[in-house]
Symmetry: C2
Subunit: 806 residues, 2 copies
Amino acid sequence: MKNHQYAIADYNLKIAKKELTDIHFLDKSTDDIKKPAELLKTFLLKAFLDSQSLTIRGQQIAGMMASFEENALSFLDKNAPLSKIGFYNIALQLLHFQVGEDFLIDNPITKMKDLNLPVADVNDEMNLYDTICAWYLLLNTHNKYGTTFVDDLASKGYFAQNLNSFSKPLIFNGKTMPVYDTNNLIREVVYVEADQDTDNDGKLDLLKTEIIRPKESNKNKVPVIFTNSPYNQGTNDKDGKDLTHNVNIGLQHKEPNNYSYSNIKAKNNKEKLPEPRTVEGKTRKAEQTLDRELSYTLNDYFLARGFAVVYSAGIGTYESDGFRTTGDYDETLSATAVIEWLTGKRTAFTNKLDNNQIEAYWSNGNVAMSGRSYLGTLQIAAATTGVEGLKTCIAEAAISNWYDYYRENGLVLAPGGFQGEDADVLAAETYSRKQNASEFYKNEEAWQKQLAKITEGQERDTGNYNEFWDARNYLKDAKNIKADMFLIHGLNDDNVKPKNVEQIWQAIKPLNINKKLILHQGKHIYINAFQSIDFTDMINLWLTYKLLDVDNNAPELIPNVIIQDNTKEQTWNAFNEWENPDSIKTLHPSQNNELIDDFDHGKKQFKDSVDSKDFQKYCLDYKKWRNDLVLDREDNPLKDNRIIFKTAPAKEDFTIDGKVKIQLNASASQNFGMISCMLVDYGNDYRLTETPKPLGHRINEGYLWREDSLREFKMKMQKTPYKEIAEGHINMQNRSNSYQVDDMEANADYDMSLELQPTFYHLLAGHQLGLVIFATDFENTVRGNQDIKYTINLAESNIQLPIRKQ
Amino acid sequence: MKNHQYAIADYNLKIAKKELTDIHFLDKSTDDIKKPAELLKTFLLKAFLDSQSLTIRGQQIAGMMASFEENALSFLDKNAPLSKIGFYNIALQLLHFQVGEDFLIDNPITKMKDLNLPVADVNDEMNLYDTICAWYLLLNTHNKYGTTFVDDLASKGYFAQNLNSFSKPLIFNGKTMPVYDTNNLIREVVYVEADQDTDNDGKLDLLKTEIIRPKESNKNKVPVIFTNSPYNQGTNDKDGKDLTHNVNIGLQHKEPNNYSYSNIKAKNNKEKLPEPRTVEGKTRKAEQTLDRELSYTLNDYFLARGFAVVYSAGIGTYESDGFRTTGDYDETLSATAVIEWLTGKRTAFTNKLDNNQIEAYWSNGNVAMSGRSYLGTLQIAAATTGVEGLKTCIAEAAISNWYDYYRENGLVLAPGGFQGEDADVLAAETYSRKQNASEFYKNEEAWQKQLAKITEGQERDTGNYNEFWDARNYLKDAKNIKADMFLIHGLNDDNVKPKNVEQIWQAIKPLNINKKLILHQGKHIYINAFQSIDFTDMINLWLTYKLLDVDNNAPELIPNVIIQDNTKEQTWNAFNEWENPDSIKTLHPSQNNELIDDFDHGKKQFKDSVDSKDFQKYCLDYKKWRNDLVLDREDNPLKDNRIIFKTAPAKEDFTIDGKVKIQLNASASQNFGMISCMLVDYGNDYRLTETPKPLGHRINEGYLWREDSLREFKMKMQKTPYKEIAEGHINMQNRSNSYQVDDMEANADYDMSLELQPTFYHLLAGHQLGLVIFATDFENTVRGNQDIKYTINLAESNIQLPIRKQ
C-alpha cells in the first residue's frame, strides 16, 4: 500500500482541540488529565465505543502491543512517559496494520513514512499537546483499507451511539462527518415541469425526480447532490441490440462539399411551447415513495453526511414524459429543469394529474452534480447553460462533444467494446418510458418517428460533423460555465476517450472558476473506492466547501491536476497543468522502419484486406487483432496490413504530455480511404491492469449503511510486450476538418494531419516508442475488408511528440 | 427464463382467504365487493402501497395494459367481467414481464406456461373466488427476477408501511414473511465457554459468538440460524501462502505395511479438562457490540423474517481462545458448544474476564446451521454429535471426510485451484486469533508447535489415510445424526469434490430423518440467488417447518433429490434418489482406442514425463494442460502421456448416475506409480458455464435491507469440444485401500480398481464417452516430472458405467 492523501486540511493545536471537542474526544472528563498516557487511554476507550463496557474496551486495548514487552493497556495504565514510537505502534494497529505481518513493533515511524502516512510533528517524548495533535492527525489518516480512522470509527458506530449529541452538519478537519440517520431517510418522488414538450403531446414534459434526504432537512435546509442518469429507470437492452448497426460494410467515396462551419451550425429553432400547467394547490407532502434507487456509492457516502441526493433520468424515461434525444439541448433542459426546481425557480407536482405543487423547501439551493459517463456528460451539458445554483460538477469520464464519442475526423468510430452503437441505439436503449405498457402503445408511432430522425441526423453513411452533431457539442458553450469543475478521466478509457476531457479542460481554462482534474490509469471506471488515493475525502472537502460554504481551503489543498503514474502501482503525482510539455520533438519515419531525427526518402505500403478466416476471427477477438497488428513478428497474418516505425530504446525515462500529432502524406488505391495511427510503448515489462482489482475488503459508507468494495490497479502477473498509448483515425476526405469533404482520387498523394488521443504517458528507459500506421480498426471503425492499398511518403510524414522530462 | 418453484404450498379458497386477510389484502373494505374487477382493482391499489396517494396508484395501475384496447385502470373501473386473460395480462406485468418485449398482450397464459409459472385453475370469466385464488397464487409466483411477487412487494415497502400491524412471525403460504424491522436489530457479542482447552493454558476456551436478532426477541423467543465460519474473523493469507507446500516433487516408493483399520483408528484420548469458570453474576445485557458482520445473504434474508442469526468462528480465531485444528473433534466441539448455549445447556459470558453469565434467553431452542464449504463441513461435524436442538443443516458444498478433501487413494490430492494446500495451511490461514498482536506474541511458540503437529499428522510424504485423517472423518459418526439434512452440492465442484456429498448422502440413507439433496451444475458456489429455481423459498418453507413448527408439508413438497440438467439452461428435475441406475454397463478398452462390449487383448503404454518447457507451462496453466491431455490431436505435446479410449457416438441420450468404476491391470517402470482416470464427454457442442453469470439485477432480502445479485448458469457463447465428467486417482501401492500400503515392483502387473467422483451426467446422442488414462494431474497431484512408463493390460481392464435411461 502507498497512501496519497490530498484532503487533510491544515490544523493547529487550537483547531485540534476545538474539533476533538466537537466529536467528543475531548470533554470535561479530559480537562483534568495531566499525563499523556492517560489521555491516550481515554481516547482509546472512546474509540472503542462508550456503548461497550469498560472491561470489553480494556480487553480490546490490551489486544494491541505498545512495545515488544507490553500490551497497550498495561503500558498506558502505568502512566509512564508516552514515546512517539509507542504512540505510532498503537496507531498502526488502529489503522489495521498487523504486527509482524505488516510492520515491526520497534519501527512504526519508518513504516508510516514508507506507506506515505502522515506522522505528527511531535516530541519523541510526547506531551499533552503532542498527544492531542497526533491523535487529531491520526483520526484523519487513511488506514490499510483506504478510509480515514475517523470514518472507520464511524462505521463501527462511534457517531451512531448517540447521533443526537452531535451538531449537524458536523465538520471535522474540513470534511463533513456521517452523523445522520440513514435508517430514516425521507424517500419521495416529484414530477418537475420542464420547459419542453419533446413528445409533442401539447403538454410540457413532466420529469420524474427521486429524492432521498435526511429527516433533519424538514427543519434545516441541506445541500443537494443531483445525479442525472438516463439509465436509472431501466434500459431496453434488446431494443439497443436490435438496432445496433452492421459495421462490416465498406467505406465509400463521399461527394466533396465546400462546407464551412456556418453550413452545419446547429440552428436554435425554438418551437412554441404549451402553456405551463395551472397550479391547483400546494403541499409539502409528496404522494409517491421510492424503494431501492439505483445509486452511486459516492452519493450514498454523502447521504450519511446530511446531503440530499436527487436522481432524475430525464425525458423519455420510465414514468417521465417526452422522448429521448441523445445529448441535444432538450436533454440539457431536462437536467437544468431539476436544478431549477431545487433552487426554487421551477414548478414540480406531486403527481401527473392533480397539478398539486410541491417545492424543494428542504434544499439550501446549493447543488452539485455527480456521476460517470452519460451521467457525467449531462453535468457538462447542464454546466454550459450557466444555470444558477449548480455550484460544481464532479464529472467522471464525461463526454464533452458527442461527435468525439461516436465519430472521428469524418469516420464512424465506435466507443471501445460497442461496435455498431450510435446515438439512435443509445436513445432506444434508454427509452425506459416504454416499460410502462400503456405509454409504449400510446406513443409507439411518434417514438419511431423520433428515433428515425436521430438515425437520419447522425448520418452514419458520411461520418461527417453536421448540424446534428453540432447540436450535441457542449464545447461551444463552455464559456458559459459558472460551476466549478472537478473532472476525472481514465487515460485508458477507450469508451469515452480522453479527448473528451481534454477539450473541456482546455475550454474552461480561461474561465474564472475553480477547476480540478484527476487522470487515472483505468478505463471507464469509478475511482471512489481506491486504496492509494483519498478521492472520496477530496470530494468531501470540495463539497463541504462548495455546498456548505465551509472555509476549508479546498481549492488550495487539492492540486489542480493529479495524474497516476503508469509504471508503478499506487503512485499519484500532483501537477499544476496537463499538456505542459518541455518541448515538441519531431521524428521522421525511415526506410528501416525507424523513427529518426532526420527525414528519409522513399515510400512504404500496406494493404487493408485480410483473408476471410482471419476477418471472422478478428471480428470476434479484438485482442487477437491488436496483438497481430502491433507485434512485429514476421509470421503474423497482419504483417502486410500495417507499417511500424520505432525509436531506438529510450536512454532515459520521459513523459509524453498531451496530444501527439502525426503529419502524413499518403495515397490510397481507391478514391476513398481511412488511415489509423497508433502510438505504442514497446518493451517487455510489467504493466498495470486497466481494470481495478477488488482487494477483498468492504468500504462502509456510514454505520451499517451501504457499502463499496476496496479496489486498486495492480501490476499484471506477467510481462507484456507492448502497451498502446494513443490512437487516431482519419477519413482521407476529411483532411481539412470533420465537416468539409475534400475530393480524392485513387493513387493521388494528399497531405493530412492527425491528432492522437491526448495522454500523459511515462515511457521507461530501454523501451521503444512505436508508430503503427494501418487502416481498418476492428474494434472501432467500419470493417469493409476492402481491397485498398495505402502508400505513405516518408519524407513528407512525421510525428510530433510533446515531451516532458521526468 | 424457465421457472422451477418447489416451495408453493397447497392452498384452497379457505386458506387463501385467511392468509390474504393476514397480509391485509382482504379486510372489511373488501367484504362488500361484489364484482371481480373491483376486487382486483382493490388488490392492485393495495399492491401499490397505501402510503401512496390514490392518484399515484391510479397512475401506476394505468401504466399497465389489460388488453390491446385498454389500460388496466380504465378496464377495471368499468367493472366489466374479468377474464382470465385480462387477469394474466396484468399479472405478467406485475411480475415485470414487458409487453411487446417479453409477451404478447393477447396470449399471457401460453406465456405463463412457457415460463413454467403456475396458472390458477379458474374460470375463463373469473368470479370473486377465482379472483381471490388467482391473486393468492400470483403473490406466490416468481417474477422475472427470481423472487415471489409478495417478496417483491415487501421489498417495495408493502409490509414496512406498517410493520406493527402484522402478527409476528407472519406465515404466508407456509413461508415466513419479512415483517421485522431490520433497522433496529440487536447486535451483540458473547463468549461461550466450551469443554476444551486447545491452547493448553489451563482455562476452558472462550469462543466469541456474534448475535444479530430482532428486537422482538427480547419478548418473544425466536429460532436461530447459526453459521460457524472459521473465515469470519479474518484470514492470514500471507501465512497460508508461505506455508503452501511445494508440489513439484517426485512420488516415492512406500514401505509396505499390513495395516488394518484398527492400526489407524483415531483414539479418543480425552485429556483432563480445566474446571469451568465460576459464574460471578448473571445478566441479560451484553457488553460488546458488533459492526458489519461478514454475512451470508441467505442469513440476511431470514433476519428480515424474524430469525436470529449467530456467527461464531471457533477455536483459534480473532477474539476467541484456543488453536486451530482443521476439522478434528475439538473443532466440532467448538461448533456444538454454541448450539448448546443457544439451547440453554452451556454457559456464556459477557466478556473474557468478569465471569458474568449471559443466557440466550431470546432463543426458542430450535437451531439450524447454514453455510458453504468449511461452513458446511462444520455443520456435518456438529450434526454427527447428535447435539440436541440442532434441527437441521443446510450444508452447501460441505466436506464429509477431510481425507476426501486433501487426499485420494494414498495420494496427496489438492482441492482444485489450491495446489500445495493442506490441513496445516488451512489452520495457519484461519488462525485469526493472531491478528490480535498481544495474543500473537503470547502464544507464538505454542501455536507453532500445534501447527507442526498438524503438518506431521497429515503425512504428506505417504498420502495414506491414518489416525490424523480418521479423526477428521465425519462419516464414521453419521449414524448419530438427528438433525434433518438438506445437502447442496455442485456436480462440477473440484474444490470440495462430489464424493463428499455422496458419502454423507449414502451414510444418512438408513436414518430416520428428513433428507434432501440438490445437485447443481456449478463449481464451488452458492445457489441462493438463481433465477430458475426457488432455492431461497424452499429453505424458507423448510425452516418455517423445522424451526417454527409450522405444519406446511415441507418434507413432502420439496422433492428428495433435485438435479440440474447439464445440457440445457435453467432446467431442474426432481427425483426420488441419486445413484439409482437402471443398469451397470461394462465396457472394455481396445487396441483401436475404443470402448467396446467385448474385451480385447494387448497392451497400451504411456509415459509420465514432459519436456521442461511444457512442464513450466502446464504448472502455470491448468487449462492448457487439460486441453492437451484430453484433445486427441496428434500434434499435441501430451500425445504419449495418456491413452484415450472412446465409445461410438451415442445413439440416444442417457445419463450416468453415480460412480463410474475403473478396473485396471497395470504396471509401472518404477517400483512406485500413480494412475489417474478421467471420464470425458466428447462432442462439439454448447455447454453450460460452471460459474453463474450475474444477470444485472438486484435481489432485495427485505425492504431497504441487504442485497444479492441475481445469477444463472448460461450456455457458453461458443461450442466446446469436450467436457470432463469425473476423475479419479490412485497410488498403485494403495491397491487394497487408502491406509494399507502394498508392495510394488517395477514392471510387475497389478490389479486395481478405482471409483471416479460420483456424477449425474446427461450425455447427448451423438456424443462419445471417453476414458483418459494418465498419471500426473497438474492441477491436483504432485508433479515430479519423473521418468516413469505405465502399461495397461487391456484384457484385464474395464469401465463400469451406472446407466440411467433418459
